[in-house]
């Protein structure tokens, strides 16, 4: 007897349709799965056999062949268990096959017949909707996640035996999930906690508003990490499409633990010992890396100089293109990876270069190596550079009433909305993504601003990149003042905050 059930496989952050075909014939009992299954899939057999038996079904003692079509697509992971079991049940006429037409099935089986949650159900649901397959059977624990996709009727199974009820029509699908857009919970840290660092706070504001990459240089203990951790609290919330995308990526990574769309911009801070694969994605099965988890959010690289060369090199393509393509024998997978990069580093290996009290203990060769490591295409993408030092006593006690994150956030949101409105036709979402053409189109300068820019071009080694960088920053500074025209004070801020590489490092 022949039966087939639809299911889905994960390819990057997309779903690919897979058909599970089961053929049961007379002959010596055998149970084979073909169609390029990976190791986890091959182990499926044991799980399916036990689950079927422990659910009160019969395991046919015949020649069972399972084919996962298309045969040339590599399939990975245990999410096919449920589909295989269902197909066997239909093929062995233990369950009414007609009742299951129009359903796609995903889930992992436990040996006792329970249904376990899998990664990527959100993506499967989206795939089902696109394939006009209206009904999806998923593990009960994944229902919340899958409900985030409109237009798909879901059934959540807790146990394999429930499939009988589904097939004979006695189980209802779950309707639309009523969700409200909640305000993201407070981060627990506030900008007002930080005393001093007035200049740095402004830099954070620019980064949050315009998405500019930021580099902080300073000795250990100066406050770089503390400042970076306040960034999520002043970043604008995700727009709907961005939220959906972020949720998809987290779903694929198995990192979704809420019942609602991800609302707050991701903030990922990988340790500097991270491997290239964990940072940019890959592995087997192919999983999104930290940069994709940071998509539309912030990737914080603390102790930039401690990262080994390979993971940093791997960042070049995504910084350039906004996505990463992972090639495997089974195909190539593309993950979105457009993030704001914030980096913190010491000025030298011992940390004290430039500190008047503690002399730098580094040998010139070590210093040079360190600086050379710091230059390069990665730093080329940094818009803002700032020196951070421990605040002096007068700065710690001087500030009358530092602004709270909420106040800054309001300004940032308004500035971001201006950008979105201005750039919507160009397919990008913030000033930092503007290239030279867009910069020319969108940056209207006052006379004073233009004069300063011309002077800057003449006096400072800007280069083409530096020129675009300054205009982008100035555009954000003006947006934060709710001004459509870029005035001289915005241009001054751009010149002051820009990332300038001193020539000592270059040669």
């Amino acid at each position: 007897m022949l039966a087939s059930i639809r299911t889905y496989a994960l390819a990057g952050v997309e779903a690919r349709e897979v058909t599970v075909e089961v053929d049961i014939q007379l002959g010596l009992p055998a149970f084979n799965i073909v169609g390029l299954p990976d190791a986890a899939l091959r182990e499926s057999r044991e799980r399916v056999r036990s689950a079927l038996k422990n659910s009160g079904f019969e395991f046919p003692l015949k020649r069972i062949t399972v084919n996962l079509a298309p045969a040339d697509l590599h399939k990975a992971g245990p999410s096919f268990d449920l589909a295989v079991a269902c197909a066997i049940l239909v093929a062995s006429e233990q369950v009414n096959g007609e009742g299951l037409t129009g359903y796609a099935v995903c889930g992992e089986l436990a040996l006792d017949g329970g249904v376990r949650p899998v990664n990527g159900t959100l993506v499967f649901a989206a795939g089902a909707r696109e394939a006009a397959m209206e009904n999806l059977i998923v593990p009960l624990e994944n229902v919340e996640e899958a409900l985030l996709v409109d237009g798909v009727k879901l059934i959540g199974l807790k146990r394999l035996e429930q499939i009988k009820s589904v097939a004979d029509g006695s189980m209802n699908t779950i309707g639309r999930h009523r969700r409200r857009r909640q305000k993201p919970p407070p981060t627990g840290v506030d900008l007002a906690d930080v005393r001093g660092h007035a200049g740095a706070k402004r830099a954070l504001e620019l980064t949050a508003a315009g998405g500019h990459n930021l580099l902080m240089i300073g000795p250990p203990g100066s406050g770089k990490t503390m400042l970076a951790r306040r960034l999520p609290g002043i970043m604008p919330p995700l727009r709907h499409e961005e939220a959906v995308e972020a949720t998809r990526i987290h779903s694929v990574a198995g990192a979704l633990n809420g019942s609602s769309l991800i609302e707050r911009r991701p903030f990922r801070a990988p340790h500097h010992s991270i491997s290239p694969v964990a940072l940019v994605g890959g592995g087997n099965p192919v999983r999104p890396g930290e940069i994709s988890m940071a998509h539309n959010g912030v990737l914080f690289l603390d102790e930039l100089a401690e990262f080994s060369r390979m993971p940093l090199e791997a960042l070049r393509q995504p910084l350039e293109d906004g996505h990463i393509t992972v090639m495997r024998a089974s195909g190539s997978f593309t993950f979105p990876a457009r993030f704001t990069m914030v980096a913190a580093t010491n000025p030298c290996p011992c940390g004290f270069a430039g500190d008047r009290k503690a002399p730098c203990a580094c040998t010139p060769a070590a210093l040079n190596r360190y600086r050379l490591r710091m230059s390069g295409p990665l730093l080329d993408r940094i818009d803002i550079m700032l020196r951070i030092d421990r605040p002096r006593l007068e700065e710690l006690h001087g500030e009358s009433r530092p602004e709270v994150s909420g106040t800054v956030l309001e300004r940032v949101i308004e500035a971001r909305e201006r950008q979105v409105a201005r750039l919507s036709g160009d397919g990008i979402g913030c000033n930092a993504q503007m290239g030279s053409m867009l910069v020319r189109r969108h940056c209207r300068l006052s006379k004073g601003a233009e004069k300063l820019l011309v002077q800057a071009e003449g006096a400072l080694t800007l280069g083409g990149r530096g020129y675009v960088r300054i205009l982008r920053l100035a555009r954000t500074a003006a947006d934060l003042r709710s001004s459509e025209t870029i005035e001289v004070e915005d241009m001054a801020a751009a010149v002051t905050y820009r990332h300038a590489r001193s020539d000592e490092a270059a040669a």
């Binding site: 200049g199 240089i217 550079m385 020196r387 007068e394 006096a459 001054a492 001193s502 040669a507």
Partner: protein
Amino acid sequence: MTEIDGEHAQQALASRNEDVCSECLERAELVSALSDHIASVARSNRKVSELLALDNEELVAAVEGGDCDYVLGDRKRSESSSLEKGLERQGLFAICLHSNAYPRGLAQLSDMPAALYFRGCRGRLQMLDRLCISIVGARRASPYGLEVARAIGAGLASAGVTVVSGMAFGVDAAAHRGALEAGGSTVAVLAGGVDRPYPRSHLRLYEEICEKGLAVSELAPGTEPRRWSFPARNRIMAAFSAMTVVVEAGKRSGSLITADLATTLGREVGAVPGPVNSHLAQGTNALIADGAKLIRDTEDVLDEFQIERPPPGDPADSEVLDDRQRRILSLIESGSNTLDQLVSDEGEGTAIAAVAELEIKGFIRRGHDGRYIRTGKGLSPQR
């Protein structure tokens, strides 16, 4: 040192229209070939100096190099003209102590190099005829030291003076870069063969120096720098120049030895003062206390030789700063030199605007550690 009939040799050279004779080249090759031996024998700078003052046979014996002819091998048999052609093929040229072009200052050394190998345009040898000033100092220089070295290098080059240094990390490189920025009148004296730039990370700087100035060495091409060849190189720097300026030096810096050498040779020594609590100023301040000339800027150097200052070409030099800019500038000078500090002192709007303007006008620069550095601009009062 083998007594070659100096005048005779000079005439012979001139008549052949050559700058280097085979004997001198042979001598240079010998020293280079014995480099490893010298390294194992020489325990002090004085010893190196003594060794280099020995003639060929004595030198070989002193370092236990075996037989003089054996060491030289095939090289002894070549004609000087073919040796020169070999150098030409490598883009190099050489002059020996019999040549008219040989720097007079070097002749004072008891262990003067027999030959000098150069890389660069031959016509630029006339740089050595002009006033030469050596700039030396700490390798781990502070941004202040680097800025002063750069500024003096640039100022001297603009005034038509040749800036001599060793292309090392820190002060040397900054001085070369300053001179290159101002037109290129600079000579790098290398501790290895002239085709062996050291440190290797300064390759681009080296190429620029060869393009716009000259690189020189007493060792044959292909010789790797050794420990002994650095102080040997320093003696050449001291001897080349009329004055050695030390920009930054700790208590035990090698540049102090170069300064001593200069004094022994009867040359001027200048030093740039530094903050009394900075370890990088211990050496230089001590030099000044001992009688070295206090050098604040290019003018102080030029005054020593009564050279005309170049006309103040850049009208921006006499630019007037407004109150706001002046306040921020003096804050930076007094050590409040990060943006956070300036914003705290003067408020965000003022600080940001003034910093941008000062950077554009050239009064401050960004250091590699992110701090602001006061440049030398506008500091010399009208004299």
